[in-house]
């Protein structure tokens, strides 16, 4: 009884939100997010989704409206990209500080200037310190499934934090794929109606949300977010496992491991190009290389434990970064290095920055980088600790 529909990633996101029975959505249009919101508008217009939509005048207001709705108990949703995310950045932190279980889709897009509408992960990764749980999906099916999972995680009483679900501009957002759309009744079983929570605004139980905290208590409120983020680790794993039991699909929790069992080199990457990464792994395996791939699904909480477990037995980790923290290296690479540093026996970590602003990251490129890592292990060549892949000298020439 599978219900297969051909959906783009953005439409899959809208289906996910609908199946999660969101009752509030507010958003502002930005390429490549628009079709998420258009589809939700259509669902509401046709009466297929009973929800309020507030068509705001900016992303700052989109997040502000979603915060207001969530504070009176809504299961609330928004989506944005790049400039839009940065315009609402203040409110993004507010949502986490106010402990509101909002879910936001981030269709990742490179930041301007220069203008670009294509993917990289700088926008998504800028939320690392905000208190949001950060999940990243790689295709339309996973986008739909992760949005449903995201509400389970966000509304977990031990968690009560907002969740951002990222996916790549165009590669995932606008590619149509067959998607198994789950039955509403089973989703309802997986994700029951949202319960009231203690810090909801209620005229029968007056409460001030966000009053001034002096230095003697502010830190404790931050500590509570960190505790919730640690609790989210378990919640993500369980949400994914139970999803698998009900729907027959799961994604490995915080990381998806691909042929890592006996690997001596693993690729660490995130997003749509991970599929190309898996193709590269297959091709290299065929040639006798013991290589595997870890796809990052959760950036916050970071899969420290999972990565250490994999890295313990490998000689090298190849991080493919679609974002850079200028002055230190790839954003994900820095996180991986920090996670692995406490290991007594550390693998080498190679950080390659590639695919910014939508440049293609295909299997051939990944294969080439992996072979270089093997050459380094064999003492045949050297690479820099952080390397920008294929910089075109014509463009950078003064």
């Amino acid at each position: 009884m599978r219900n297969i529909k051909v959906l783009t990633g953005n439409w899959a996101a809208a289906y996910g939100a609908k199946l999660a029975r969101i009752d509030f959505v507010s958003a502002y249009p930005i390429t490549p997010q628009t079709s998420v919101i258009e589809k939700l508008a259509e669902f509401i217009d046709k009466g297929e989704l009973k929800a309020k939509m507030v068509r705001v005048e900016s992303e700052h207001s989109a997040m502000a409206a979603v915060i207001g709705a969530a504070a009176v108990g809504a299961r609330a949703f928004t989506a944005t990209s790049a400039q839009g995310l940065f315009y609402m950045y203040e409110m993004v932190w507010w949502a986490a500080g106010a402990r509101l279980p909002i879910v936001m889709g981030i269709v990742t897009r490179a930041l301007a200037p220069p203008w670009s509408i294509w993917t990289d992960h700088a926008d998504f990764l800028a939320l690392r310190d905000s208190g949001w749980i950060l999940l990243f999906a790689r295709n339309a099916q996973e986008i739909l499934d992760t949005i449903i999972q995201a509400y389970r995680i966000a509304e977990d009483e031990e968690v009560m934090l907002p969740v951002a679900v990222g996916w790549d501009a165009f590669i995932a957002s606008h590619t149509a794929e067959p998607v198994d759309v789950p039955e509403q009744e089973i989703v309802d079983e997986y994700l029951p109606r949202k319960k009231a929570f203690s810090h909801m605004l209620d005229v029968d139980n007056p409460f001030s949300l966000g009053n001034l905290a002096f230095p003697d208590s502010y830190m404790e409120y931050r500590w509570l977010i960190d505790r919730a983020m640690n609790a989210a680790h378990k919640a993500i794993v369980e949400a994914d496992r139970e999803f698998g039991e009900l729907f027959g699909r799961s994604y490995g929790g915080l990381i998806e491991k691909y042929r890592c069992e006996d690997a001596n080199v693993v690729i660490v990457m995130m997003g749509a190009s991970s599929g190309d990464g898996m193709d590269a792994v297959d091709a290299l395996r065929d040639r006798g290389y013991k290589i595997g791939l870890c796809r990052i699904r959760a950036v916050r909480p970071f899969p420290v434990k999972e990565l250490r477990e994999v890295a313990r037995t490998v000689d090298a980790v190849l991080v493919l970064d679609r974002a850079v923290s200028f002055g230190i290296g790839g954003t994900l690479g820095s996180e991986v290095k920090a996670a692995l540093y406490p290991l007594k026996e550390k693998p080498l970590v190679f950080d390659f920055i590639a695919g910014l602003g939508g440049r293609d990251v295909d299997a051939r490129l990944i294969e080439r980088l992996a072979l270089r890592v093997y050459d380094v292990l064999d003492g045949k060549t050297e690479v820099e600790e952080v390397e920008w892949v294929d910089i075109n000298p014509e463009v950078v020439k003064a």
Binding site: S26, V54, R55, A71, V72, D202, S208, G210
Partner: protein
């Protein structure tokens, strides 16, 4: 006396011992506003003096639910609350924004304009103390002509922005101004706003003793003189129809208005004014009243 308690219920919703300054116009107005709107109200408060007046965690000086929100966000947050309550059939609850002039006429204007244009069921109240008082008296878009502030040490060179008139072109059902010197007028307007569905905008003159540099015992006197000199005009615009209210009704004739000097001289923020500057302020007020005549 029964009539008085009918207009001003005895129940207090802003508690004693709150952190407002002595003579605070905002605290005085808030007391009236809460009495008029009652306990079935949710307040959305952006960064402003009331962020402090609400008191430090885990306590609160409010007896209604309060959502603190970022400076520019109050109208949008109220949109979300209002729409959700409507979806849940809880339209008996007043969704109220209580924001200062900076959060309304400057940083919050975009969100305010958006929410008004969309027509959510919200009562938006701006308490206008005519500068950024919570951060220490910096000029805002609502600071009057030639007023001293810490960022206009020799006087603000521009007249204040007329926000109620900006709101008027949003075609919202109700707009009103108010003053703490005329609580009956204020209470009637709030009660009217409460009954009207849609976006309501209320702009309140809010004397600030430390910011305007006057004795904290004189807040009401300062507020009253603002109205009697015509510097602050009491009116309402209901479904596009303009109507003067309270004492402003009989001030259309210039001869009935006190000279603005009487209002200015009570306040240290205007102490440095030259005769020419006072005349300029007077002229601005008279022009405003000529405009009112044409409405």
């Amino acid at each position: 006396m029964s009539k008085l308690t009918e207009v001003f219920p005895e129940e207090e919703y802003i508690l004693k011992g709150n952190a407002s300054c002595p003579g605070c116009g905002a605290a005085l107005l808030l007391r009236y506003v809460l009495k008029a709107l009652g306990p079935r109200s949710i307040f959305v408060i952006p960064a402003c003096c009331t962020s402090v007046i609400a008191g430090p965690l885990p306590r609160t000086s409010f007896k209604v639910p309060v959502m603190h929100i970022a400076f520019a966000a109050s109208a949008a947050t109220a949109s979300g609350i209002s729409e959700m309550l409507e979806l849940r059939g809880r339209e008996d609850i007043n969704v109220v924004v209580w924001a200062g002039d900076g959060g309304t006429v400057d940083i919050g204007l975009q969100a305010l304009s958006g929410a008004a244009e969309r027509g959510h069921n919200i009562i938006y109240i701006c308490y206008d103390n005519e500068a950024y008082m919570n951060t220490g008296i910096q000029r805002s878009g609502s600071t009057p002509l030639w007023a001293w502030t810490t960022t206009t040490p020799s006087g603000n060179p521009r007249p204040k922005k007329n926000l109620p008139f900006i709101m008027q072109v949003h075609r919202i059902p109700y707009i009103a101004t108010g003053s703490p010197a005329y609580p009956n007028d204020l209470m009637a307007k709030l009660r009217k706003a409460k009954k009207i569905k849609g976006f309501k905008y209320i702009h309140l003159h809010t004397p600030c003793p430390p910011g305007w540099r006057f004795d904290s015992a004189k807040s009401v006197e300062v507020a009253r003189l603002a109205v009697l000199t015509g510097a602050w005009i009491l009116y309402e615009i209901e479904n596009g129809v303009f109507r003067l209210t309270g004492p402003s009704k009989r001030l259309l004739d210039k001869k009935r208005r006190k000279p603005v000097k009487e209002y200015l001289k009570l306040q240290g923020r205007f102490r440095h004014l030259t005769r020419e500057q006072i005349e300029e302020i007077q002229r601005l007020i008279d022009e405003e009243w000529e405009r009112i005549k044409s409405l």
